[in-house]
Subunit: 285 residues, 2 copies
């Protein structure tokens, strides 16, 4: 099955109400007045990192991408569970883990180790607490909202290619935990940009049942000469969100488009319709 | 690193107080009056299941072994997060998942899919709610308690070997969710028997800083002629617990030993000292 087919099949299973129909990045459990937020993301050798990668970087990135999903919910991170394949440079993995846990004040809660054969897979379940209600979702973009993105897009692409100034963007991305908490009470929809800006905007429009018009020249990119590639590469972990126009920005960001009434086409880029996800970004599986 | 070395290194990281020093099977988060309980276990092709295994069985067992850890805490299961490697018979995996979720009234909350290369790894994070306080732990065996085990030991071994009557014990183990909830308010220490009865008793004695004397003939085994092997094989997912003597059993179980004051030797089997874990059961990594 492709990832798309597998997700469709998963949606026929008994789903928890906090799963949001498996159409969001995180799951929620409400306990009394608190809401706990859960995310599970894994990284596989050969798919998400090169066999020669420093496992300290892999450990950092694995935790960071999970915290980035929590950030897109405005959550305060609490802890992680780790699923670890023994057999690589486990000492370097531990060192990267120590650095990222310390940097974001996140605690290790438990997990599991396996002595797997072949390519390694590392997994993290991150647990956070909501800092506001309702918890931001992908599907809350409202007609008339502006569409915003934090930071610059394309840095991870340049880092992946070996540009020294951008290595950190690819190897050790920064989850925008503080930005997410500042934005969460004010936004319509919010998500992190993990699979490519165009693809993630397309998904936000679909989940929200609206059309989004993007002005591509407005997007801050890491390499002006390769603007189009920047918009389609992933791994930047910036926050993409919508906000009623005229509201003061709670965190520095750039307006890159507007939310419009639902049309047969979900996404317009510089006035041109985009009718499928082909080539928009990174689609799993 | 071996699993033992890796765990020792993990214990030097910032740990959540609910991690219980990484010396227990589950992690805890207290929220108001509620305690949530988390477990993460994975299964790797070639290590935990054969390449030709029916992925419906693998999905069942993956969820069941996580629920078994929740059961040893007396927890009521709430939901699971799934980490799935695409590329096997994903349809069969979905079918097994549907069966186990339905059988134990557990909901899917979310997760992640990866298109991994090489051998597949599947992971589950299971989330449950405590049904009593304190939540049972490995380290609460008290001198004078009896040591008990539910059911029979060795069924999974026979199932692994292809004995038709025991195939289900290996392929589709039963997590003792109801038994765990009945036992939890009364027990001293409790854990599930996953890596071999002798090894798990040895670990309970170590965590509790006591010595346990086992009367091996008292253990109900699946094959009398192979009693010693039964005691060392794992995968049975029965519950091992201690209880003050004279207390009425809240769930059917067999008394197989007693808890004694801490001695230099952790475990005596039929009066003979066992001084290391070598050969006692299945040690990871």
């Amino acid at each position: 099955m492709t990832e798309h087919e597998f997700l469709a099949a998963l949606r026929t299973l008994p789903l928890h109400e906090g799963a949001r129909g498996l159409k969001d990045d995180c799951a929620l459990i409400e306990i009394g007045d608190e809401t706990l937020i859960f995310n599970h993301d894994s990284m596989a050798e050969g798919t998400h990192f090169r066999p020669e990668a420093d496992l300290a970087d892999v450990a950092w990135k694995l935790v960071a991408i999970n915290l980035s999903d929590l950030a897109s919910k405005g959550a305060k991170p609490v802890g992680i569970l780790l699923g670890h394949s023994l057999g690589g440079n486990d000492q370097r993995f531990i060192e990267g883990l120590r650095e990222v846990l310390t940097a974001y004040n996140v605690k290790l809660m438990g997990g599991d180790t396996v002595a797997a054969t072949g390519a390694s897979t590392y997994a993290v379940t991150a647990i956070g607490k909501a800092t506001c209600k309702p918890v931001p979702a992908r599907n809350a973009a409202k007609v008339g909202h502006g569409v915003f993105v934090t930071g610059s897009i394309g840095c991870a692409m340049l880092g992946f290619e070996g540009h020294v100034a951008h290595l950190k963007a690819f190897n050790r991305p920064t989850p925008l935990v503080e930005a997410g908490q500042a934005l969460a009470p004010h936004v319509g929809a919010m998500m992190d940009v993990s699979d490519g800006l165009l693809l993630d905007i397309y998904r936000m429009a679909g989940a929200s049942e609206v059309t989004i018009s993007l002005e591509s020249i407005a997007v801050p990119v890491a390499d002006e000469a390769r603007r189009d590639e920047c918009l389609r590469w992933g791994d930047d972990y910036q926050l993409l969100f919508t906000l009623p126009q005229g509201v003061e920005l709670p965190w520095p960001a750039t307006m890159i488009g507007t939310v419009e009434p639902r049309a047969p086409i979900r996404l317009f880029v510089d006035g041109k319709p985009v009718s499928s996800t082909a080539g928009l970004g990174y689609e799993h599986g």
